[in-house]
Point group: C2
Chain length 190, copies 2
């Protein structure tokens, strides 16, 4: 296996264990057991469960980035704010392997300094990515000023979808959700 394949294997195993036991209750030995790797084999790639979690989140972010790029390309006719709104709603309502882990991660950051740092790092990275994706337009300054509120709102809604299982209700009211997000974007323009 290449380095990349091996790390992919470790991440998949870790996702499974995190979801079963919770991140907080998982130790490196659990990942060793799940991957059937030797101690040296595992530690060669990752020193801690936090490192693995970070890589999983980072992979999730890169997947999201690709999705955003394709939304931008598909929606050429829409206004800048409409495209941004579309990508935000997509993110809030999206359902994939990463979401339950991400929601679990968000629930842990308050108790765990290490994870909180990880969260800040990811937030910084996605802020940078969002700015890069959209910096071609005149409106980018509004985005900067409302980005913190928007990211907090997105993460809050993702938590609600997962914890309260209200994704279907939000999905059925997608148009209202879009209008709510446009309020944030338009408000910052004033």
């Amino acid at each position: 296996m290449s380095r990349e394949e091996r790390e992919q294997q470790i991440k998949e195993a870790a996702k499974k264990v995190f979801l079963e036991k919770g991140f907080r209750n998982t130790v490196m030995d659990d990942i060793m057991q799940e991957t059937k790797l030797s101690r040296g084999g595992l530690y060669h790639h990752y020193k801690s469960t936090s490192e693995i979690l970070y890589d999983i989140m980072d992979e999730g972010n890169r997947m999201r980035e690709k999705a955003v790029k394709s939304t931008i390309e598909l929606r050429q006719g829409l206004s800048f704010n409409e495209i941004v709104t579309e990508t935000i709603v997509d993110k809030i309502l999206s359902e994939n392997d990463f979401i339950p882990i991400y929601a679990m991660f968000l629930q842990e950051i308050k108790q765990d300094k290490n994870l909180n740092n990880l969260y800040e790092k990811l937030k910084e990275k996605s802020t940078k990515t969002i700015l890069e994706l959209f910096n071609c337009t005149d409106n980018s300054e509004n985005i900067v000023s409302s980005l913190d509120l928007i990211i907090n709102f997105i993460n809050t809604m993702i938590l609600g979808c997962e914890i309260l299982q209200v994704r279907d209700n939000f999905r059925n009211n997608k148009d209202i959700l879009k209008k709510m997000i446009l309020v944030v974007l338009n408000n910052k323009e004033e």
Copy 2:
């Protein structure tokens, strides 16, 4: 002590233990120890930790009801939707003893059938209360149709405030939050 005083004492002790150990890890023995009551003394009032939790939530709801009533009285000059918006934003941003317990409770309902039933019961009860509080106006039908979305949104935002610690950020953007909620209310009117 009167029955009411005793139950208040039990609820206060339980709140403390729930916050320390988490609801899921608390057993009746922990409450016995904290209250210094005998087994018979405690079980005379409550048969399970779920029963205590329900009473704590119910008390929180009644406090909220009072707050809503005073908001309605203080804001006589505002339109119906503006008053509703005001009470919703107040609820989302409110900070008191019940909120951390309520957020903890919301995080558990997915895993615990018993708590999920409790949640549905509380949701039904507050729906009824909200309708009673507002049924004097012409707009009450709009409220009914959007109530499920609104309650899901409120609970989602409460979770965000507690878990992500973004209450201050939301509070600083209170006007935007109000406009977002007006979108829901106005949308259902169309």
